[in-house]
């Protein structure tokens, strides 16, 4: 669906995402669980996400081209503790979230660690994807 300029003006967030795409920044959907932060330096990207309470064995990380997909699940605490629930604010369920990175990632060199409920993924750029300098023949 094509949006008119006026419609875009009325929706500043969409406009921001459109600009993000133009610049080539990663465009993630906002606040869909889990929230992520992306750090970039040259040919290296780091993705961090807060997924407290998620069992490390249920975390799935996959990379295809420039897309990183995170999966995981967390059972509701009420089911685990078996009692009467007075407050239920924490997130539970299954998630699957994909984000686009500014370059293609080398899947063999991706490293991930999970500590204190924070997942930390290091994603180096694919060698073949790196810009090459072309020398001019005389």
């Amino acid at each position: 669906m094509t949006s008119t300029y006026l419609e875009r003006l009325l929706d500043p967030w969409r406009e921001f995402e459109r600009m993000n795409r133009l610049i080539g920044w990663p465009a993630g959907s906002t606040a869909e669980y889990p929230a992520i932060n992306i750090w970039v330096a040259g040919d290296d990207a780091i993705v961090t996400t807060e997924i407290a309470g998620i069992d490390r064995n249920s975390i799935g990380i996959s990379v295809a081209g420039n897309t990183l997909t995170l999966k995981g699940k967390r059972p509701a605490s009420v089911e685990q503790e078996k009692g009467t629930c007075h407050r239920h604010e924490t997130w539970s369920g299954e998630f699957s979230k994909s984000v686009q990175l500014p370059f293609n990632v080398d899947p063999d060199k991706v490293q991930a660690s999970y500590r204190k409920g924070i997942l930390h993924i290091s994603l180096p750029r694919l060698e073949a994807d790196k810009p090459r300098k072309i020398t001019i023949e005389s």
């Binding site: 869909e32 669980y33 932060n37 750090w39 407290a52 309470g53 009420v78 009467t84 409920g117």
Partner: protein, 135 residues
């Protein structure tokens, strides 16, 4: 996708008017679950970035305060290009009733989740009264 998409946003803790914090960090209100069981109350708080060393649990009169310090991990020479969550400390205070046995509160942390077990005091425990048949 048929799955329900759940939106999550960290809530920043409120400060009283005219009061400022000493450390220049953001402070968030952790999401909690409170579950009542037969003999105790279980409080679970999501505090990613907190471990047993950076957590303070203070019980003063009937106020139970949990405070978790988070050291922001900024990757060297990297710039943040997408930020969906902020990093900061966690604080939340609860009032306890007399029905909690304060001497035996237990706390543990796993994968960024604090688990507090608040045992019920003897008098608050549910008692089942046996009914004897009249002779």
């Amino acid at each position: 996708m048929t799955e329900k998409v759940q939106e999550m946003q960290k809530k920043e803790a409120e400060l009283d008017k005219g009061v400022e914090r000493i450390r220049n960090t953001r402070v968030f209100t952790p999401a909690v679950d409170i579950i009542e069981k037969n003999n105790d109350l279980v409080l679970l708080a999501d505090m990613p970035g907190v471990d047993e060393k950076s957590l303070d649990i203070i019980l003063e009169k009937n106020l139970l305060t949990i405070y978790g310090r988070v050291e922001p991990e900024v990757p060297a020479n990297h710039r943040l290009v997408l930020s969906e969550y902020g990093v900061g400390d966690y604080q939340r205070t609860f009032t306890l009733s007399d029905e909690i046995d304060r001497e035996h509160i237990r706390a543990s942390v796993k994968d960024g989740v604090l688990k507090l077990v608040l045992p019920k005091a003897e008098k608050a425990k549910m008692k089942k009264i046996a009914v004897a048949a009249e002779a």
